[in-house]
Symmetry: C2
Amino acid sequence: MEINVKPVAFVTNKRNTPTDDFWGDTISEITLAEHIPTEAFDDIESFSHLEIIYYFDQVQKETIVFSGRPRGNPAYPIVGIFGQRKKDRPNQIGLCTVELIEHKGRSIFVKLLDAINGTPILDIKPVMKEFGVQKEIKQPSWAADLMKDYWK
Amino acid sequence: MEINVKPVAFVTNKRNTPTDDFWGDTISEITLAEHIPTEAFDDIESFSHLEIIYYFDQVQKETIVFSGRPRGNPAYPIVGIFGQRKKDRPNQIGLCTVELIEHKGRSIFVKLLDAINGTPILDIKPVMKEFGVQKEIKQPSWAADLMKDYWK
């Protein structure tokens, strides 16, 4: 079973190289692809946060793995690909919750998106409180360590 | 630009019809597709919550819209497709945060997944606190109204 998808929008920002950390200052413009009408963004500004599903288009198929140490760090355990957020993963799909700063016609401007310049976007969804985590989040200690400089 | 993806897993549960509400009691089994090795789930149980990106395979292309009233409810405003979570959307991608109950070999069992029996899954990611919303969530009043019976 093969599924075809098509980018609905593209990212423009100042990050041209895939690097791991320091995403806190990056403002990204997300512009609708040609085949998507402007109305797809109507009233999006009634939400403060969005979920952005995107495609890691720079990933080479040969680097995709099914398990490994997060960021290759020997201090972390070997975990399956679905127990980590590494980009070199089956289907190369990324996901990030962002803050919406502004909506202007065919573009939105967002903060806290960890995708580089030119990244194709597959979907955009508004964050609703009711879809959020209702219980305490449990995570291994390597996750907090890995994330320590991510949003700086 | 066309992108090909392939299901990495499939959902098994008791919901066979796409209906809107009352997902609170549904337990779903998510089983890896044949081409994904078992190790892809290694240590996934070190996380309490997962993000499930799936494909609304029952949606017919003709029903996809770019804007409209959420659930067709005349009491709600017309909003763009990226300002609502309707399933009849470009690329037919669904997204839900679930609670992980158990990991058993090639299967995981989860709660609070809003996908029906047989749904193809495109990716699974662990929820890390650092990726969560750090500020207060703002949403329109129709969103809370629409969600009132969703998790019952």
